[in-house]
Every structure is written in C-alpha cells, then in structure tokens.
Amino acid sequence: MSEPVLEVRDLSVSIGDTPIVRDVSFAVAKGERMGLVGESGSGKTLTVLAVMGLLRAPLRVSGGEALLGGTDLTKLKRRQLDRIRGGRIGMIYQDPMASLNPLHRVGDQIGEAIRLHTGLDKRAARERTVELLDEVGIKDPASRARSYPHELSGGMRQRAMIAMALGADPEVLLCDEPTTALDVTTQRRIVELLLRISQQRGLALVMITHDLGVAAGFCERIAVMYAGRIVEQAPVDELYARPRHPYAESLLGAACDLTLDLEAPIPAIPGRPPMPGELPQGCSFNPRCRYAQEKCRGVEPPLEPRGDGAVACYFELGSHRVAEHVPVAEAADE
C-alpha cells in the first residue's frame, strides 16, 4: 500500500477502567476506500469519534494514536484540532438534519464552513459553494444554495452535507452510516457519489456501516469489528468470498438479500454481543461461535496477519468445522 494518509495505531477508548474500543489499527491511503463494518455497540462509531477528537467525557482515548500525515490527532489541543477537523479531515453523519442548522440557508452554512477553513472572502466562498453543490450532483445549485434544509429531500440534504465536508478540500473523509437513513434508490445514488468524489479527488475515505451489501461495492478493504476490536481485516473480495473469522462468516450469512432461501430460517447468530465490561473470558465471540473450542475460552486470540489481511482466531475457518456444536448462548436473552 502507498503511504497512508490516516494511520490509526492500537487506538483504545475507555470509560473509567472499562475499555470500549480495544487496540484498533487501520490505515487508509490517498484515494483508498476502507470500510469499518460491525453491529451497533461494536465500537466502530467511537473509533472514528476518537480519531476526530469528538469523544465526550466520561469517554476518553486510553491508548494508541491516530496519525494524520505524521500528526497524532489524539494529542492535539482543542484549538489545533479545530483547524484540522472539518479542514484536512471531514466527517459526514447518518442524519444530515442533525448537522445542518434548520434556521440557515444551506448555501450560507456551506459558505461559512469554507471561509472558516480556507480564508476565502464571502463572495468567493459563495461561488465555491455553488461549484461544490454542482460537484455533488445537485441540479440548479445556485438556487438550491438559497434553500433551507427542510426544503430539501433526504438525499439532497446528504449531498449538501457532503458538499460542506468537501469545502475545505480534506484529505480524509469519515462517513458514519451515510446512507442508512435513506431509501434504497437514494442510498445507491449517494454511494455512487461518494465513490466518484473519492476517485476524482484522491480522497481517502472510511465508511462505517452495518450493511455488508453497501460496503461490498464501495470499499476496497474492510475491517470487521466485534466487541470493540477488529476481528478480521481483509481485501473486500477476499472477505466476502472466504471470510476467515467465524463472526465475519456469520454476519455475511445473516444478511438479507434477494437470494435468501425462503424455505429455511435465516442463519441468524444466536445470542447478542457482550456489553463492554462484561466480555467473556477468551475470544469475545466464543459464546456465540459455532466452532468454539476449549482454547477459545482461554486467552483472547491476537489479531495476526493471514493472507492479505489479519484475523483474530486460533483456527483456520473450515479446519475446525468438525468440532461444530451448539453454541452456549442459545437463548436470546443471554
């Protein structure tokens, strides 16, 4: 991989002494698209909030670093961070309404963000705003710039959010479930848009999603998180064709698409993820894992390189299939 733009090393987030995110490492290069995939509570959002310096007490970074071109973001003072956030590193969220001020025109808000980070004057910022709205596929951008957020559809608002994030010409864009609140057809258009701008601008992009379908066409590499850790990291084709971690395999199996076998139950994962502070002994996934063996209940397996990625499992998936058994956490109220 070429020189990473953003490199996260052994990043941990805790509340008090309870670790919530544990030793997360990943890197994205210029123009690269990475996915951070996991279910709610897996720590994927906290990981990016930590990178952005947006954690609120009692949450805190308890270890590791997040390097943006050599600068450790986790060590910066508030004022230094303010220059970088929304500047060299941008973020878009699931709900654009939460980030857009309903009382101000969309164009004014984007213009303000541009001026804050570029020093352009008002007039130039306004021109830039219209260019950006055009770039993100908003028709008639000059008049749309005068709209209020509520006058735009969900998809348009998300496009406006993306335009705002692009205003300062960032190197990295962190996208937290950018399409989850949208209708399927709109979802597709937004994914296409993000792909296009990342290619055209050479933007490093991290997409957080729980949707393996959305990640499939968009991401080049994927890190799968479970109980606060990355349990598998791999090139996207490899992960989908041959997942190496039992959780990744289960997650792919439990997804709904138009090819589901209608006669059989969906291969759901029994039980539910552990709460932070209540992690089981050994591998965090072992109570739900259909391959779990004695060793899995001992020491937590480290994330180790395998193939073109890394996996935190003692076994080669497939090799221990003979040991298949009913998981301990059968009941839903585990």
Binding site: Q187, V191, H210, D211, A216
Partner: protein, 283 residues
Amino acid sequence: MSEPAPMAEGTPIVAVRDLVKEFDRGRGEEPLRAVDGVSFTIARGETLGLVGESGSGKSTVARCLLRLTTASGGEITFDGHDMRATGDAELRRIRGKMQAVFQDPHGSLNRSHRVGDILQAPLAAHGIGDRKSRRARAAELLEMVGLGPAMLDRRPVELSGGQAQRVAIGRALALSPKLIVLDEAVSALDVSVRAQILNLLRDLQRDLELTYLFISHDLAVIRYMSHTVSVMRGGVIVEQGSRESLFAAPRHEYTRSLMEAVPVADPPFERERIRAALAQAAG
C-alpha cells in the same frame, strides 16, 4: 351490536377497497392525498408485504386499518367487521384481535414500567384474568418470544434493541390476536438481530396461525416474509401479486427499480453496477 356471521373458509381476513386518506393543509389549499384508492386483501394465516419508500403512504394505510386515524373514503373489513362503521365499544373489542408492532421498540414501551407490567397491560385493560393469571400469561408470552422469565422485572432501558422488540411482539400477542401489523418492525435492528426476529415472526405465524400486514422499505425482507406483495408509491399501489410472480417477473418499472437498488453482498457484481451507473451518469 350483533356478532357478525362467521367467515367462510377462504374469505380474506382483511379486505381494503378504494381506501382514501386525505390530510387537510388548511386555508384554501387542496388537501394532501396520502392514500389514493388503495385496495388489497389478506388471506388468513398469510402475510401481505407492503413495500414502498418513505412518503409512499404505506404507514398511513396501516394507521387507517388500525383506526389510529380516520380514513377519508373506501371500505375496510377486518374479520367480518366494517372497520369504518364500528362504534367505540366494539372497536375496543376488535382491537384485541388486531395488534401492531412499530419500528422503534424502545419508543413504544413505557420506560417506567417493568417488562412484566408491559406484557400484562393489554390483559388488564381488557379485564382479562386476575393478577396471578396475568403474571403467568406474561411469563408465557416471554417464552413465546424467546426470552427467559428473568426479563419480567427488567425495565425497557435495560434491554437491547432486539430484546425490546421481542417484548413489543410479546405484548402484541397478549390478547391472542388474529392480525398483527408490523410497521418497519425490523428496520432499526442490526443484521444478526434482524435475522433472529424474522425467524421468530415466521415461527409465531406458523404456530399461532397469525395473519401479518408486513410493512417495510426493504424488498429483501419483504420477499422473505410475504405470501403476497403490494408495491406502493405516491399513495397508490403500482403493482401487486404473489411473491413468486412479483419477484420472478416484476411488471412495473418502479418495482424493477426497487429490486435493482437492493445491495448484494457480492463485491465484483456491486462494483460493476456502480461503474455502469457512473458511466451512464457521465454520459
């Protein structure tokens, strides 16, 4: 009011004809037609999947059927009752046979009550049983939705999204309903939990001979759950048919576009689709 005649075998349990729902926009403005002439039937023990994007009017149809809002026109028959003509007392009785589960499980459970009380509330409201039998029924309901008796004393904040949705389903089952309206009931859940809840709903339908009106924006979930499917857009049904025929050969362009939009967990396939779409957009 007299008991309606028992329904013949094969008569649909729900029949909706030319349903119209208008919302007043006030001062000389044309009313907004959220539902504009919708007709469908649901066979006993089957699931009708109602699919559409936000603003299509699908939830308004459900609200009219449940009489959470008053229809502006058309006919709604449920289990032999004319739902638009029933008085309050009868409606109360019918409501026990017609329950609903909504998207946000936590939002639909009273935060200050314990799970046991939540499950017993419908029984108490309908004056069914005494404290002891209601408590026993609550435990039974928990078991039906795959939760242990320890849950009885928990409060909603202590539950995960999946557990809370199981409790909401349990509460819907309390009065042994015939129909359950599931309005985006799995949309807020994670992949693995969603699979569990869908499996549970299919098991309950089979064991209790339930009829479902299953509303979702997610075509993959609709396909898995439904016997027949209606596709809604802009207040009208643009296509309906059996699951087999609709998914094998969608006739309406909108249905096709919805199907094509469903993401597939196949990277090379998805990449090619995005590449083609971008190439087309670039002209």
